[in-house]
């Protein structure tokens, strides 16, 4: 008897361990496989689904633990366990594909095409038609863009543009220079690549050391998939927006892979020359992302090119400290005067990535989830996730204009508050509009003039006055109309020559660009022609065709929409 009891006890303990190892530590209101219902008190049944978000790392949380997530739960009876990506997206999503086990809701980022190819997402066309009038309204002009070759919509991306608002602060690419440098040289305004590097040269010659460490003239981010921060540069210098690895002719709509173009040669030649003068960071091609950010935060770097959202961590740190002169200011640099810069994103619509409902959701679940998404697409909900609650996180003046008091600006930029309120989890990645609400207020508070002007501190104002501008984006040209923008969201079929090209080009550029830039200037020409002939062996035409086709299709849809609107 006694022996049996001991065995039973140990079995129980073992089971307990297994059970606790399998469950996660979040205190969700329902069980883990997500489909089970659970009586959630007064509001009736609350159902918890899993949402895997591959767009970036973050804290895993159940949406009902946030203020607005709780409101959504009360209104729709649905909440989500959000799990964020840790590590490599392709690997994680690849595992899901291979096992066929998906969370009910999935944002697969750059692996979206693969999930679609594997049949992981369910078509949303009928669901939207029947259950989601608000999504239909918000994405109205873009629904056609969202359709894949088979005519189905699988994912709902964020950012359906409604009207254009020029942002007050840079969010996109720019050539950055440390403010200290600008101040010392009497606030010069570089416009061309030559002028830009002349400033760096002048300052570095006068200040070989910053805070005891060697001054770094120009550094570059090249780590892993972020290599485009370097390879996109010639495109921007030639007056094109961030369309990825191709230039698109405004008239013929033909895509041109530009790595072998004269623009690229001209840009590399300049970097080669800059390197010869000792201004190019020798570690540009060996540092990883963290080392790059740390270097910029250290204040040793005079200038660099990057996208604001990519270098945000470093620039935010610099902005938060006491010293306004270690911040950086971005300029729209082009090859020569006469080229209109296109650094600001045009009104566009990225049809991928986005969130999709997977085959893990039963038909009933699909309807519940789409209704939840539709609830988010209501304009009043949109205001809740971008502005918050009136009287708490924003105010309305007598003209119906939204604004935030200084106190509210401070509260709403506090990470802890943003997490607990739910801004961090809902403001991007879910159905979202961009631009202006119907009442004329900006969707995003920082784009509202009333908020933006309050956000500048004394240090910012010094530079705004010196350059005689109201906002930092005033130096940048208005984006031209490019209905296909961005071209990089074109789906590339798994296993196609176009996909192979992307990988081979990446390898080739990563291998050859450092050689070309670090080469002795007298060897530049031979290095360049070497690269060019290697490039020509790649299936770049196949890639161009895929992009051209997609661009033309988008323009066609756009024109049809314009006509029917008239």
């Amino acid at each position: 008897m006694r022996k049996q009891f001991v065995w039973l006890l140990s079995l129980l303990i073992a089971l307990l361990f297994v059970a606790s190892a399998c469950s996660d530590d979040s205190q969700n209101t329902s069980s883990d496989d997500g489909n089970d219902t659970n009586d959630g008190g007064e509001s009736g049944d609350v159902i918890t689904y899993d949402f895997f978000d591959a767009s970036g790392p973050g804290e895993d949380i159940n949406t009902s633990e946030t203020t607005i997530g709780k409101m959504f739960e009360e209104e729709t009876g649905v909440n989500f366990d959000i799990e964020h990506i840790v590590g490599d997206v392709n690997q994680k999503v690849g595992t899901m594909i291979a096992s066929g086990e998906y969370p009910e809701l999935l944002n697969a980022e750059q692996s979206t095409d693969a999930v679609i190819d594997a049949g992981g997402f369910v078509p949303l066309n009928d669901l939207i038609e029947e259950h989601a009038p608000n999504i239909k309204k918000m994405y109205g002009p873009y629904l056609e863009y969202m359709k894949r070759d088979d005519g189905n919509i699988y994912i709902i991306p964020s950012g359906a543009s409604h009207g254009y608002v020029k942002p007050a602060n840079l969010e996109q690419g720019a050539w950055w220079i440390k403010r200290d440098v600008l101040k010392e040289l009497g606030y010069p305004q570089p416009k061309t690549l030559d002028e830009y590097f002349a400033i760096i040269e002048e300052y570095t010659a006068a200040n070989p050391e910053i805070d005891g460490a060697n001054t770094i003239g120009f550094t570059a981010l090249t780590h892993d998939w972020r290599f485009f921060a370097l390879s996109n540069q010639p495109n921007h210098l030639a007056g094109y927006p961030n369309d990825g690895g191709i230039m698109i002719d405004m008239d013929t709509l033909e895509a041109d892979a530009y790595p072998d173009n004269p623009e690229t040669e001209r840009w590399l030649k300049k970097l080669n020359e800059v390197n010869d003068k000792g201004l190019f960071d020798q570690e540009s091609f060996t540092q990883n992302y963290d080392e790059y950010l740390a270097k910029i935060t250290s204040g040793r770097v005079v200038g660099f090119f990057d996208y604001r959202w990519q270098v945000g961590q470093a620039l935010d740190t610099l902005a938060e400290d006491e010293d306004p002169y270690n911040d950086y200011m971005g300029f729209p640099i082009v090859f020569e005067e006469g080229i209109t810069d296109q650094y600001l994103d045009p009104v566009g619509f990225a049809a991928s990535p986005g969130i999709g409902i997977t085959t893990a959701a039963s038909e009933e679940d699909q309807i519940r989830i789409i209704k939840f998404l539709d609830h988010i697409a209501k304009e009043e909900t949109q205001k809740l996730i971008t502005w918050g609650k009136e009287g708490e996180t924003y105010e309305i003046d007598e003209n119906g204009r939204y604004y935030r008091t200084e106190e509210q600006i401070e509260t709403t930029s506090n990470t802890e508050f943003r997490d607990s309120f739910g801004f961090s989890y809902f403001e991007w990645g879910w159905p979202r509009m961009n631009g202006l609400y119907e009442d004329g207020n900006a969707v995003e508070p920082p784009k509202q003039q009333e908020v933006a002007s309050l956000m500048y501190d004394d240090g910012d104002k010094e530079f705004l006055e010196a350059y005689e501008i109201e906002t930092f984006t005033e130096l940048f040209a208005e984006p031209e109309e490019r209905p296909w923008y961005p071209a990089w969201d074109t789906p590339i079929e798994t296993g196609s020559p176009a996909q192979l090209y992307e990988q081979q080009l990446d390898d080739l550029m990563k291998r050859k660009f450092p050689e070309i830039i670090f080469a002795n200037p007298s060897d530049f020409d031979s290095q360049w022609s070497d690269f060019k002939s290697s490039f020509e062996t790649l299936p770049y035409e196949e890639y161009e065709n895929v992009i051209t086709e997609s661009v033309k299709r988008k323009v066609e849809i756009y024109e049809q929409a314009q006509e029917s609107a008239e």
Partner: protein, 322 residues
């Protein structure tokens, strides 16, 4: 030893008189308890080592996930052709073999040397400290270790500082930016990370050596060095041979993490090995078939190496694994 083998020989004779199957069943019954104990492990081997071999079929398909086996498209040797005809494959193979050989040789020499040196220490406290410090890096993840290595080797890192201070180099060297240095850096990092850990098994082998041999040698007037050469090393020989054979089986497994984490555009011609190539062109392009084909290739080569090493060691009179 001699008496033991006599007994064994006599049992074999006895068994031969009975019939094969009967003996087998009798033995099974005798060793019932032991056999039951092996069941979970046999199952484990079967589930994790033999069942996955079925997945090799993927190498001959254009494998698409979530599509049933009968609907997969069969493409023959297409993926092997892609692998072997890619102009970079030879370079990749060269890197794999070179990195592996360097790791193998450095790993063995340093671990054995460290084990012998530790064994010669008489101060227990110092001995334990050295052992602990030397095997601690083994527990670091390569992600952390690679970050340490790359910061030590950066332009303003400690390696450049020391070399400049000693006047050995005139200008800082970007160690990870020069392809030719990569194999050396990799070998050194592997040694730093694993030498203490690898030495443990040799220390265990040394502790099995009969202390009387040392005493006898001492009385015969053998010096410390002579004792190491003639007693310690021969005493470890069987362990060394077993480990060598097993490691040669892994010759194409030069590792993946350090090469992936320390590799960059400037040293790619020396850092990219088969595993990194497979990640780039297989896994991350969702081309699972190519990844499988590369895996098959590696397995076949490994088996060849394993058999070769085993028979070589038997010929040299060291006894093989089987």
């Amino acid at each position: 030893m001699a008496s033991g083998s006599d007994i064994a020989a006599s049992t074999i004779k006895k068994e031969k008189q009975e019939k094969g199957l009967k003996v087998f069943l009798r033995k099974c019954k005798e060793q019932q308890a032991l056999l039951w104990m092996t069941v979970p492990f046999v199952l484990w081997v079967f589930v994790f080592k033999y069942l996955p071999v079925w997945g090799w079929t993927m190498a001959f398909q254009d494998y698409k996930p979530a599509v049933s086996f009968s609907e997969q498209e069969w493409v023959g040797f297409k993926h092997f052709l892609f692998l072997f005809t890619d102009e970079r494959f030879l370079g990749v193979l060269r890197n794999t073999l070179a990195q592996s050989l360097i790791n193998l040789v450095l790993g063995f020499v340093t671990a054995i040397t460290l084990a012998v040196l530790i064994n010669e220490l008489s101060n227990m406290k110092f001995k334990r400290t050295v052992q602990t410090i030397s095997y601690l890096p083994h527990f670091l993840s390569w992600v952390v270790a690679a970050a340490l290595v790359s910061s030590v080797l950066s332009i303003d890192g400690i390696v450049n500082d020391v070399l400049m201070g000693l006047g050995l180099i005139e200008k800082e060297i970007l160690w990870l930016g020069v392809g030719e240095y990569f194999w050396g850096i990799l070998g050194a990092s592997e040694v730093w990370k694993n030498v203490g850990w690898n030495a443990i098994i040799y220390l265990a082998a040394i502790s099995m050596i009969d202390q009387e041999q040392y005493e006898a040698a001492k009385i015969d007037g053998a010096s410390r060095i002579q004792r190491i050469i003639h007693i310690t090393i021969p005493g470890m020989k069987s362990v060394i041979v077993v480990l060598l054979i097993m490691n040669i089986g892994y010759i194409l497994e030069a590792g993946f993490e350090p090469q992936y984490l320390l590799g960059n555009g400037q040293n790619v011609e020396y850092s990219e090995n088969i595993d990194v190539f497979v990640i780039k062109y297989g896994i991350s392009m969702f081309n699972f078939s190519l990844a499988t084909a590369a895996g098959m290739f590696k397995t076949v080569i490994s088996i060849i190496f394993l058999f070769a090493a085993n028979s070589l060691s038997k010929k040299l009179g060291q006894g093989g694994l089987y």
